[in-house]
Assembly symmetry: C2
Homo-oligomer: 305 residues x 2
C-alpha cells in the first residue's frame, strides 16, 4: 500500500569540521519520502521555488515518488544552513530562509486523499492539520515534530496529537513537551495527550517505542564513520512507515521490525552528506543491514564466531 | 561454579539534589559481589579498616559471600564522597580518603586460587595483576577499570589487557584509552590490545558487546525513577559474571544473556542509595525483570496488548 508524506522540501547548506556542502537536497519530506520509497510507493506533498534544481526532481523520480502534490511556486526554495561541531550531536543553525514556504498551503491532489498511510513529517503543525483535514480515514497517521513548534505553535501541536496514532519525537522534545526529565514518565504523559504509540528518538543511542505491548528498545546501527546526521530522524520515520505500508498484518505486529528498518535507512543517511549515501543504497543493502541489526539484539548463538 | 571478586570495599557518602546519605556500603567489590551473589557463590578479596560497620559484614554474609579474603586492618576504611547534579549522569568527587587501601596487598586464601570465574572489579591495575598472579588457570577473567588508572597507571593497565578475556569500561574510558571518538573504531582498537570481548557501558543507554560473534547491543532497563547510579557499572559486571558462572555452555553462548542479567541488577542498584535497593531484591524479581527486558528487545508480537 502507499504512503503520503508531507513535510519540508528544502536546500540544505551543511558544514562539518571536515567539509562543507552548499544547497544539498534536504528537508524532512525529502528524507522521509526517499526512505519510505525503499519499501512502498510514495506520494509527496511539498513546495519548492523556481530555483529548485532539476536534478533533484529527477532524484525524486528515480525513487518512484509521485510528485503530483509538489507545488513549484514563484520565489526561492526553503533554505537551511547549519554547522556541526566535532561532536556531531551538536549543531547550530546559521540561516533559515523560508522562501516559498512562507505562504504554503498544501492542497492534496484528488488521487492522494485516500492514501492509507500518512506521514506528517516535521513541518508547522497547522500544515499537518491542513493535510489531515483533506484525507479520507487513513489507516495510520504518524507525525514527527521539532522543538521550534513546541516553542511557537504548542496549541496547534497539542490539538494534532489527538489525531495521531504514532508520535515520533526526540528525547529533548519529549522532555520539553512534558516538562519531565525521565523519558519513561514523559512517554506516559504523551500517551495521555493522544498517541497510542510514542517513539522517542535518541540519535546514536537508538529509539524507544512505548505502546500497548510495552516497550521496544530499538538500537541504532553502529557506524564506524558518521559523516552528516542531518535528516536521520526523518529517514527513520520514513523507513518506518514505508515498511509498515509494505507489511502484512496489523501495526502492532509490525511496528518493532518497522523501527529496525527505519534505523537502518537512518544509518545510511548518516554515512553521507544530505541524501547522497541514502540514494545510493539498494533494497538488498537495506535488507542485509536489517538482518545484521536483528542479529545484534538477538540472544541466540551467533551464526559465525 | 564460583566467582572471585576483587575490588574496592568502601564507605560512600553520596549527595544528590534530593538527599544525602553518609557512609553507605560501597566500593566496586561490594557492588559486584552482591550482584554476582544472585546467581553464583562469591568469594571476595578486599580490605576494610577497624571502623567498618559490623552490619555491613552481616550484609555480605546474608548474600552468602565468602569473606576469607577480606582483610581487616588497623586504620580507616576507604572513604569516597561524591555529589550528583540534577542530571544524574554528572557527578563530582568531593573526597577520596584511601585509608587502609594505601598499603593493600591482596593475598588470596588457598581456597580461592582455583576459582574458575574471576572479576577484577575497578581497583589499581597493579592489584588486579597481583590477584591474577595468584590464580591457577581461571576459566574466565573479566576486568573493569576507570579513568583514574588511564591517567596514572596506563602501563600497568595495558599489560593487564593482555591477560583479560572480557574488558568492561565506559564510553568515556574507551575514548580516552584509544584516543578515538567513534566507539565502533575504539572497540576494534581495544581488541588489538588483548581482550577477546569488549563491553562498552553507556549508562542509561545500555552497553555494547564486541566479540567474535559481532556486536550485541544490550539495552538498559528503562526506569521511571533513578535515585543513585553509584555502583551501577560494578553491579552490571558482577551480575554478568555471576550469571556466566551459573550457566551451562560456553562463554560465547551465554554472554548476551549474561549482559541482560547484569543490566537488570544494575537497574535495581539505581533505584536506591548505595546497595539499599539491590540487597532487597530477590532472585525472582531479577528473573522477572530479565524476562521483561528480553521482551523489550524481542520482535515477536507482544504477549499482552
Amino acid at each position: 500500500m502507499s504512503v503520503l508524506v508531507v513535510g519540508s522540501t528544502a536546500l540544505d547548506s551543511i558544514k562539518t569540521p571536515k567539509a562543507q556542502h552548499p544547497r544539498l537536497l534536504g528537508g524532512s519530506a525529502s528524507h522521509a519520502a526517499v526512505a519510505a520509497s525503499f519499501f512502498a510507493p510514495v506520494k509527496m506533498v511539498g513546495i519548492v521555488g523556481r530555483d529548485f534544481p532539476k536534478r533533484y526532481i529527477r532524484l525524486y523520480e528515480r525513487h518512484g515518488i509521485d510528485l503530483a502534490g509538489l507545488q513549484v511556486a514563484d520565489g526561492q526554495t526553503f533554505h537551511w544552513a547549519g554547522e556541526y561541531e566535532v561532536n556531531l550531536n551538536n549543531r547550530r543553525t546559521l540561516t533559515t530562509e523560508l522562501g516559498v514556504f512562507e505562504t504554503f498551503q498544501p492542497v492534496l491532489p484528488e488521487g492522494y486523499r485516500a492514501t492509507p498511510y500518512v506521514l506528517l513529517a516535521n513541518i508547522a503543525p497547522a500544515l499537518q492539520h491542513h493535510v489531515l483535514d483533506q484525507m479520507r480515514r487513513p489507516r495510520l497517521v504518524v507525525a514527527d515534530t521539532m522543538d521550534l513548534w513546541l516553542n511557537i505553535a504548542l496549541a496547534d501541536l497539542l490539538r494534532l496529537l489527538r489525531r495521531v496514532d504514532v508520535l515520533v519525537l526526540n528525547d529533548h522534545e519529549a522532555r520539553q513537551l512534558t516538562e519531565v526529565d525521565n523519558l519513561v514518565v514523559a512517554a506516559r504523559k504523551i500517551h495521555r495527550l493522544g498517541p497510542r504509540f510514542v517513539i522517542v528518538k535518541k540519535g546514536e543511542h537508538g529509539a524507544m517505542l512505548s505502546g500497548p505491548g510495552g516497550w521496544f528498545l530499538c538500537p541504532a546501527f553502529p557506524l564506524a564513520r558518521v559523516v552528516d546526521p542531518t535528516g536521520a530522524g526523518d529517514s527513520f520515520a520514513g523507513g518506518l512507515i514505508g515498511y509498515l505500508a509494505s507489511a502484512r498484518g496489523g501495526i502492532e505486529a509490525n511496528l518493532r521490525l518497522a523501527m529496525l528498518h527505519g534505523a537502518v535507512v537512518a544509518s545510511f543517511c548518516c554515512e553521507g552528506f544530505g541524501l547522497t549515501r541514502t540514494t545510493k543504497s539498494t533494497r538488498s543493502q537495506v535488507r542485509e543491514r536489517v538482518s545484521a541489526l536483528r542479529q545484534m539484539i538477538s540472544l541466540g548463538r551467533p551464526v559465525q564466531g
